[in-house]
Every structure is written in structure tokens, then in C-alpha cells.
């Protein structure tokens, strides 16, 4: 966009200029926060949707596959801008934090106060550890390839163990109606959702259990592979979206 400034002639802003630049930083940060809260939350709600909304959708097969795969999109795109243009290694963490803020607001006000669901039934998952790894790996390697392969994989692989301390307790068995259910399943049975019959849940489908009943690691590694591909795709979308190519012509 601009001509490169030779190092020898580079002068940092001072005084009023520096104050103005700092004010601009805060302005952009606040706007970015609201932008990511809104857009990433909407994107996440429309794509991950029920897997993140309900405790009885967080299964060991599809939940760890779908959530990181969708969750890595915005972090990759925002990293492409913040790292490429500013060498700021916080794109993923910023996105995930913004998503969580938006999600918590929705869960408390829309699900609990508006629709009467107990909040423990709609606890969101967190992807903060994966985002921190993604940011730090990009910063230390400065490599799209390495971050895609190892960062993308780590983002997926860390998802389930990160969230097990939150949701593991909901998988304790209870005896209901002469059958065993998890506490999470019982939430789905007891707390009536008119538009959410049990059969709509996309959980435990397919034959991944063939592999010694270990569905989660297989799902997680499948997600890791897909995240490694999803990451560069959204990195390039981010770069394309943040292009100033057309601005220069105005």
C-alpha cells in the first residue's frame, strides 16, 4: 500500500501523534470486539448450533469433530490480518474470547431468562487453550504451513480434553424408565424442548465405535486433519477480506 520506509529514517510517533494513534488502537479494539462477538457468534450458532447449545448434544463422536472444525475458521482469518499486517499474535484468542462473551450473554439472557432453561443445561464449550496454542505457535514459527499442520491439529486435539472437566460430570449414569441414561440425556428428557425431539440429536452415528469403542480419539484425529485443511483456507479468506487493494484506487 505504502512505500517502504527505510529503517534508518524510521521515526516513531511521539507526543500528540502518539496519543492519537493509541486512541485509534482502542477504537479499533472495541469495534473489533463487537464485530467478532456478533459475527463469530452468529457463524458458530448457525453451524455448530445444537452441539454447543445443549448438554445432551455434546457426544463423543460428532461434537469433538464439528466444533473445532467450525471454531478454527474465524481465528485463522483474523490471525491472517493481525499477524501478517501487525505481527500481533492474538487473533485466535481474541476471536475465541469474543465468541465466549457473546455465547454467555445469549445463554444467560436468551436461553435462561427468556426461555427458562437452566443454565447448566446450556453451558457453552471453551476453545481458549487451542486458541492460545494457535497464537503462540504462529508467533514462534511465523509459518502458515507449520501453524496449519500442528496448530490446526492441536486446536482440534485439545478441544475434548479441555472441556471434559466441564462436561464429564454430566455423563454419570442414572437409571430412568428401566434404562440407563446420562445426566445430560435426562436434561433432554425432562426439560421440554418442543422443537427438539430426541431423534434430532446427531450423536453416535456411524461405525467409529468399531475401533475398540474408542470413538473420541478417532473423531479428534479426524477433526485434526480437517482443521489442518480448514486453517489455511480461512487464513486466505481472512487475507482476501482484509485486502486494501481496492482502497488504494479510491
Amino acid at each position: 500500500m505504502s512505500a517502504q520506509i527505510p529503517i534508518s529514517t524510521f521515526k516513531p510517533y511521539r507526543g500528540e501523534k502518539a496519543r492519537l494513534v493509541r486512541a485509534y488502537d482502542y477504537l479499533i479494539l472495541v469495534l473489533a470486539l463487537f464485530l467478532f462477538i456478533g459475527s463469530f457468534h452468529l457463524h458458530f450458532a448457525l453451524t455448530v448450533g445444537d452441539w454447543d447449545f445443549w448438554v445432551d448434544w455434546k457426544d463423543r463422536q460428532w461434537w469433538p469433530l464439528v466444533t473445532p472444525l467450525i471454531g478454527i475458521t474465524f481465528p485463522a482469518a483474523v490471525q491472517a490480518v493481525l499477524w501478517d499486517k501487525f505481527r500481533l499474535p492474538m487473533g485466535a484468542t481474541l476471536c475465541v474470547a469474543a465468541l465466549l462473551l457473546g455465547t454467555w450473554v445469549a445463554r444467560v439472557f436468551a436461553y435462561h431468562y427468556w426461555n427458562f432453561f437452566p443454565i447448566n443445561m446450556v453451558l457453552p464449550a471453551t476453545m481458549v487453550p487451542g486458541a492460545l496454542v494457535l497464537d503462540t505457535l504462529l508467533m514462534l514459527t511465523n509459518s502458515l504451513t507449520i501453524t496449519s499442520i500442528f496448530g490446526g491439529a492441536a486446536f482440534a486435539l485439545l478441544f475434548y480434553p479441555t472441556n471434559w472437566p466441564i462436561f464429564g460430570m454430566f455423563h454419570q449414569p442414572v437409571e430412568v424408565a428401566n434404562s440407563q441414561l446420562t445426566i445430560a440425556d435426562l436434561f433432554g428428557f425432562q426439560y421440554i424442548r418442543t422443537g427438539m425431539p430426541e431423534y434430532l440429536r446427531i450423536i453416535e452415528r456411524g461405525t467409529l465405535r468399531t475401533y475398540g469403542q474408542y470413538a473420541t480419539p478417532l473423531s479428534a484425529f479426524c477433526s485434526a486433519l480437517l482443521c489442518s485443511l480448514m486453517y489455511p483456507l480461512w487464513w486466505h479468506i481472512g487475507k482476501w477480506f482484509a485486502s486494501t487493494r481496492y482502497l488504494a484506487k479510491i
Binding site: 520506509i5 481474541l94 432453561f117 441414561l181 428428557f189 431423534y199
Partner: protein, 412 residues
């Protein structure tokens, strides 16, 4: 500027006034919007009753009844291979504590058999006070919702009194309203604090314009300091280790966990209640007279029972058309879904045992229009379905036939 301010002020006042106007709440669940042929020829509800319609928070209420799965299931509607008996509520104002199908408790979905007869019972518990319009209904996979009859329930009391305690298989008593909440909030705050620390580490220093200029000037090495790298390495190694340790601690704490359950319940139909073979009804022709709002059915009744029977009721899509001349038409109906004189016959005398008789039934009521059942004649599948109730006055018996026929519209 002044004009703009006035416009905004006016808009604000208008919105304030509008928000203060009385608003009526929705009184239905869109049940009339579903195509009539689906409402008439899928789940045919009857004898649906509530134990009470006025109760308090924590009190139990049950809805029970029967339904017949129509033999003439529409070709365009997927077969009920996964069906879920649900309750339409505005959120969980009640909780569902028990549910039975043919006397068997069940929690998941079930495969229903066309032509099958079932009875059901759902036990609910009041959670939030208010007045709510509630239906039992079936969610049918890939087909949608088929509503049963709706009622108004009034729940009184204090929402703070609601309790829902259950026992795990290991004997631990848990409160479903708060279980796992504090733990979930703790972990979100924990990871949120780490995320905030990482973000603040970078946000505390000049950001966009300054960093862009420095990067442009080739001063990249000044943007990422050795201290930054040291912290990043710590995060890169420490966070995954922490995640795995915490995961392991949780796994040891809850060693007996099981995956979410996804089985389909298998419950066989009852012995035939409808079309049981004692009194057979064959529909010969059905005509709908648009101007009279009357369905004229020509049926052939074959009475193989031991007593004389009379046609007392035709029920379809939760609307009951009664023959006023038959006294023992069973259960109590509310005003909005019953037509007391809606059914008349060309020959109202009893059909003797062993007799075969052709009968013309006129089912005439504005309900065909108000319940949007007359939309049938504009559907691609314009077949009618419903339950015909025949009564043996002497023996006190009831025979039910599920009838169906293509409908011919008569416009004049």
C-alpha cells in the same frame, strides 16, 4: 442536525408508545398450518385427558390418551420410523418426569407401526407459574409435528419453590437446576483469565498503526521481544500439559461415566383397538360441499358384533363431530373442538347384528373451515382420514374404525 434530532426523537417516542400498547400472546402452536391430509391421516388421537388443569409448582399433572397410527399413511410423509411423543410448551415451564407407551416407560424415540394402536401417559411437574396452552404431540422424523388436542393449564405458586432432585446410579443425589453450573463457570473463568492475560500482554503496547509502520520499515525483530518469545514458549508447552492433566484428574474423578445414549425404543402396538374386525366400515365415497361446509361420506357398515350399533361420532384432526341422537358419546369435550350436532345420518336407526348397511353420513360444521381442514381439496393429496365411532347402547361397547377416502369437492 436539528431536523435529524427531531426525527430520532419522534421515532423514539413512537417506539415507546407502541411498546406500551397491549399485546395479546399467541394462543396456538401453528397446528392448523400443517396440511390437513397430514393431520387427518397420520396420528389419530382420541380419549385424551388431563388429570387436572390447575395446579401448583412442584405438583404433578398427567396427560393420557390413545392414538391410532393411520393405515392410509400419506405417501409423501416418511413412515414413522422414529417418533417422539412431546409436549408443546413455551419453554420448560413444566418438566417431564415420566412417560409411558402401552404401559411401558420410555425415554427415547420409538418406531410406530402404521395400523397400530397405542395408549400413552406423560407425567409432568409444574416449574414456572403462569397460564399456558399445552398440547401433547408427536415429532415425526422428517415429517414434522402432529398435534394432539390442546388445553390451557394454570400453574400457581412460587417458581423459587421448584425442586428437581435425582439420584445417580452411584447413589449421589443431585439438584438438576444447579448441577455442574458452578464448576462450569469456574473453568470458563479460569481459561477466560488466561485468555485475558494473553490479550492484555499485547494490548498494553501500541498496536495497529505503530506496528504496521514498524513492520513496513523492517523492524519486525522489535515487535516480538525475547520476553514475548519466552512467554509464548511457556504457553505453548504449559497449556497442553495443563489440559491433559486436568482431563486426567476429571477422568479419575468420574470413572464410571457413559456416553450419551442414542437407542431407539422398541414398543409393540396393543392388540387392535381400531379396525378390530368386529364392526367393519368401508368408505365408498367422500364429497365435500364447499358452500355448506359439509363432508358427505358414503360408508358400508358390516356389523359382526353381538349387538346393534349406531354411528355416534366422526373425529379427525382433534375435531369431534357428534351425532346428537346417540346419547352415550363418551368423554367430555370442550367447546372449541366439538360440534354437538355436526354429524347426521340418512338412516339413524341402529344397525342390527349381522346386518350390512350402506349409510350416508353428513359431517357439517364451520369447523371444516375454521380448523382449515377444507384446505384438503386444494392439496396434492386430497384424501380424508379420521376415526368413526360406533356405539352399542345396550352392551355399552364402542367400536372404532379408521376410515379414509379420496375427497371430491362440490363447489355449488
Amino acid at each position: 442536525m436539528k431536523t435529524q434530532f427531531k426525527t430520532w426523537l419522534l421515532a423514539f417516542i413512537a417506539l415507546t408508545v407502541l411498546s406500551g400498547l397491549p399485546m395479546s400472546s399467541a394462543l396456538a402452536h401453528g397446528e392448523k398450518a400443517l396440511e390437513p391430509f397430514i393431520r387427518m391421516r397420520t396420528i389419530q388421537w382420541y380419549d385424551v385427558q388431563w388429570s387436572t388443569q390447575k395446579f401448583n409448582v412442584n405438583d404433578e399433572v398427567s396427560v393420557s390418551g390413545k392414538f391410532h397410527v393411520a393405515e392410509d399413511w400419506p405417501i409423501s410423509v416418511p413412515k414413522p420410523e422414529a417418533a417422539f411423543l412431546n409436549i408443546s410448551t413455551p419453554g420448560p415451564v413444566l418438566i417431564r418426569t415420566e412417560r409411558y407407551l402401552n404401559g411401558k416407560p420410555w425415554t427415547n424415540s420409538v418406531a410406530l407401526q402404521p395400523g397400530g394402536d397405542y395408549d400413552f401417559k406423560v407425567v409432568l411437574k409444574g416449574r414456572l407459574p403462569g397460564r399456558y396452552h399445552i398440547h401433547p404431540f408427536f415429532n415425526l422424523k422428517d415429517a414434522g409435528q402432529v398435534m394432539g388436542p390442546g388445553v390451557w393449564l394454570e400453574i400457581g405458586g412460587d417458581p423459587g419453590d421448584f425442586t428437581n432432585t435425582i439420584k445417580t446410579i452411584n447413589g449421589e443425589l443431585i439438584d438438576m437446576e444447579s448441577f455442574g453450573f458452578a464448576n462450569g463457570v469456574f473453568w470458563h473463568l479460569f481459561w477466560g483469565a488466561l485468555a485475558a492475560a494473553w490479550l492484555l500482554w499485547w494490548v498494553r503496547r501500541p498496536l495497529f498503526i505503530s506496528r504496521y509502520r514498524m513492520l513496513d520499515a523492517g523492524l519486525e525483530h522489535e515487535l516480538i521481544t525475547p520476553q514475548d518469545k519466552w512467554i509464548a514458549k511457556l504457553v505453548l508447552v504449559g497449556v497442553p500439559i495443563l489440559v491433559l492433566v486436568l482431563n486426567s484428574v476429571t477422568a479419575n474423578r468420574y470413572p464410571d461415566v457413559i456416553p450419551l445414549q442414542a437407542g431407539l425404543d422398541q414398543i409393540l402396538p396393543l392388540p387392535a383397538q381400531v379396525n378390530a374386525g368386529t364392526v367393519n366400515v368401508d368408505t365408498l365415497k367422500a364429497e365435500y360441499n364447499v358452500s355448506k361446509r359439509a363432508m358427505v361420506l358414503q360408508v358400508k357398515v358390516d356389523n359382526r358384533s353381538q349387538g346393534a350399533v349406531r354411528i355416534g361420532e366422526f373425529a379427525t384432526s382433534n375435531v369431534h363431530f357428534l351425532n346428537a341422537d346417540v346419547s352415550n358419546v363418551g368423554y367430555i369435550h370442550r367447546k372449541d373442538d366439538v360440534s354437538n350436532n355436526g354429524l347426521t345420518l340418512d338412516n339413524n336407526t341402529s344397525i342390527a347384528p349381522g346386518e350390512q348397511r350402506s349409510v350416508t353420513i353428513e359431517v357439517r360444521d364451520a369447523a371444516w373451515e375454521s380448523e382449515r381442514l377444507d384446505g384438503l381439496i386444494r392439496d396434492a393429496d386430497s384424501r380424508l382420514g379420521g376415526l368413526l365411532f360406533l356405539y352399542d347402547d345396550v352392551m355399552g361397547k364402542r367400536y372404532i374404525s379408521s376410515i379414509s377416502a379420496a375427497v371430491i369437492p362440490k363447489f355449488i
